[in-house]
Amino acid sequence: MTATGAPPFQYIRAFPRERTYVLPALHLLHEHEGYLSPEGLSAVALHFKIPNSELYGVACSYSEFSRTPGKGRQVSVCTGLSCLLNGAAELVNTLSAAPARGAKSASAGQYEVSETPCRFLCNLAPVVAVDHGYVVEANPGGFADAIGARPGPAQRPTAPPSPLEVRRVTARCGVVDPSALDTALAAGGYEGLKAARRLPPAQVTERVSASGLQGRGGAYFPAGRKWETARLRPRPRYLVVNAEEGEPGVFKDRYLLEKDPHLMVEGLLIAAHAIEAERVFVYINGEALLATARLEAALADAKAAGLFEGTEVEVRRGAGGYVCGEESVILSSIEGERAVPRLRPPLPVESGLWGRPTVINNVETVANLPFVLTEGPDAFRLVGTESHPGTKALCLSGAVRRPGIYEVPLGTTVRSVVEDLGGGARPGHEVRAVLCGGPSGGLLPPSKFDTPLVGGSLDPGGAALGAGGIVVIDDSMPIRDVLYHLAAYNAAESCGKCTPCREGAPRMRDLIGQLRQDSAPPDAIDLLDALDEAMASASLCGLGQMAPLPYRSVRTHFFEELTRP
């Protein structure tokens, strides 16, 4: 603290002295300083009365925060799988080789080049982030000009509807003006909320249970049953909408929030009514800036229009890390703790935020609620399968002609998505596999493409529908390179809390790396199998348990490529 002049970090002292505002305060500090400065961290620790070492531990568990001041403009090439399949490696080489990094172009100025996994614009690959803007479908030639133009947020295209699609949650995307409440109202917006509020909360819950709607974040747990469990517990209860969306290859929640934020706001208010939630949090990915801006505007407009009826809704931004999408990590994060999973039991519906019953629903789950309330549970079941009713927003990307968001009935086959909707392989190439379920899923070979896409495991190898990411892999990238990429990602994203994942994932990465370079020890497969078993059965959270699945799928379906060039 300085003795003279205005006291620094006044903006931190503006927060209520409650630990739940630690992450918002760190975000604000990061925005002001460009990094988490030692003085700023001390100020946050002092304000919230948290020992500085403990606060440092919290801050360091969020990977998006920089702890050193940046130099100049930040150019980061996305090297997620879909971008790698679309020339990201070439982009990295070109940009890194440019003399004095940008000195060639006066308009670009000085910039630092780095690599990051997944910017969640996979259907627009390759993607380069320039400060907070994006260059999509980037071309190495003339890139300095693109940087100099200071790009803004990327606009996602809306594809013309296909007869194979059933658009429910995406019905108004590209149709309504996302910034105008009246266009949403004119298109039938908030009719589901009105219907819900005409019913007692228990009946809304019954309707959702009857529809068979399951969690669209990847677990496919019946949404109604989750609500019923929470409703058995005394109030106060809380609702958390999981908009963290941090799985590489998945970008549907951002799409929904950017194109039609009022649908989710309506769904959120329906869910809050059904479980009689005292407080609602939307926990959104810290880098989803456009989605956050549109969501916040939609919430403000809906509130001003009197649609909230007293419901308290707060938007909280995450700060990086795949693990931040794990539901118990969201709870820790909202409480101002380190971003590590909690022990289960108890489940969040039993004891969640501050020990109170807490329902955590994914954006897409919540976005399905207006349809259930306006059209009814039977109409909801008209598409999909008996065990998995309704639609799923799929995120198709990678080596495919027509990547994008496609909303299809559950039970649609992989082949139909890749070939009919996606147009199949790019000219002159051959599809070798699809990755279903991202780094927590597995590769599916073409012989399995008639598999219907439903919740749960799709294949003993590990492929799962999960949140709906489907990355098409062709002959331009060896299968073991794909596997190494996924294993390296899982090692980098391990939160470090439990031994099997923290120690197992890097060793899995290293052994796969040695196999890839034909320098592995003779017992490498035995060692990997033991790691697979231990991580899957002994890890603390779902992410650690699923981290070995890419390996298992390659071992099951591409064993020869794993052990031979």
Partner: protein, 230 residues
């Protein structure tokens, strides 16, 4: 709260019937039954941490191998603490834990002794792939006069942090960083002597591997002869 009768639950551990209080865990039942299973991160007197994953069990009707330290004991549970895949998985977890430790160091010796106690031989088959620095600026911190922290003997069980933050409410140390870079450290990764550590010794007393160990009185390298810091 009104007085309530103290209830117990009965369960089977490796074929032995055992009763524990209703709020007890499966680990409590195992200890009551005299079953020896490693539980490196669970302090008998503290809340479970769930990090080391060595107290794994199999429970009939339950998927996977849950950690017994925070699994609530229920009436009629049938628990096994050994068996084919359970032994194999526990060994892999112990192998991975061994791989964190510098060979021949006090941590490795402590873990090997612990493993032997439970009938597991310590094999260091994942040891040679370890990344040693874990994002910490130094592995050895002997800046305080009272004790030494050697991260090459640390298994990141978190008991020291629990002792410092939850028991003593001091908060001089924390788990810093994630994944391979996770380590025990203080604010800005400064030496411990710069922290608010009071040399109370709680962390030293709960460390299962000797990564935190007291310095001898009369240690000539200690400026004030090994008294209290600050």
């Amino acid at each position: 709260m009104a007085m309530v009768e103290k209830r117990t639950v009965s369960l089977s551990v490796d074929g032995t019937s055992v009763s524990v209080p209703e709020a007890g865990t499966v680990l409590d039942a195992m200890l009551a039954a005299g079953v020896q299973v490693p539980h490196l991160c669970k302090d008998d007197d503290q809340e479970p941490i769930g990090a080391c994953r060595t107290c794994l069990v199999r429970v009939e009707g339950v998927r996977g191998l849950p950690a017994s330290c925070y699994l609530p004991a229920r009436d009629g549970m049938v628990v096994s603490t050994s068996g084919h895949d359970l032994d194999r998985v526990r060994r892999t977890v112990l192998d991975l834990t061994s791989g964190m430790l510098s060979p021949g160091g006090r941590g490795a010796l402590a873990l090997a002794a612990e493993a032997r106690r439970y009938g597991v031989d310590g094999r260091f088959r994942y040891g040679d792939l370890v990344s040693a620095t874990r994002g910490a600026p130094r592995l050895l911190d002997d800046s305080t006069p009272a004790f030494t922290l050697d991260l090459s003997d640390c298994i990141l069980c978190g008991r020291c942090v629990q002792g410092c933050q939850d028991v003593q409410h001091i908060g001089a140390i924390a788990v810093v960083g994630g994944g391979e870079r996770a380590h025990i450290g203080a604010f800005l990764d400064q030496p411990l002597v710069e922290s608010i550590c009071t040399s109370c010794g709680t962390c030293v007393s709960v460390c299962p591997t000797g990564a935190l160990y007291p310095r001898a009185f009369g240690d000539a390298s200690v400026p004030n002869g090994g008294g209290n810091a600050g």
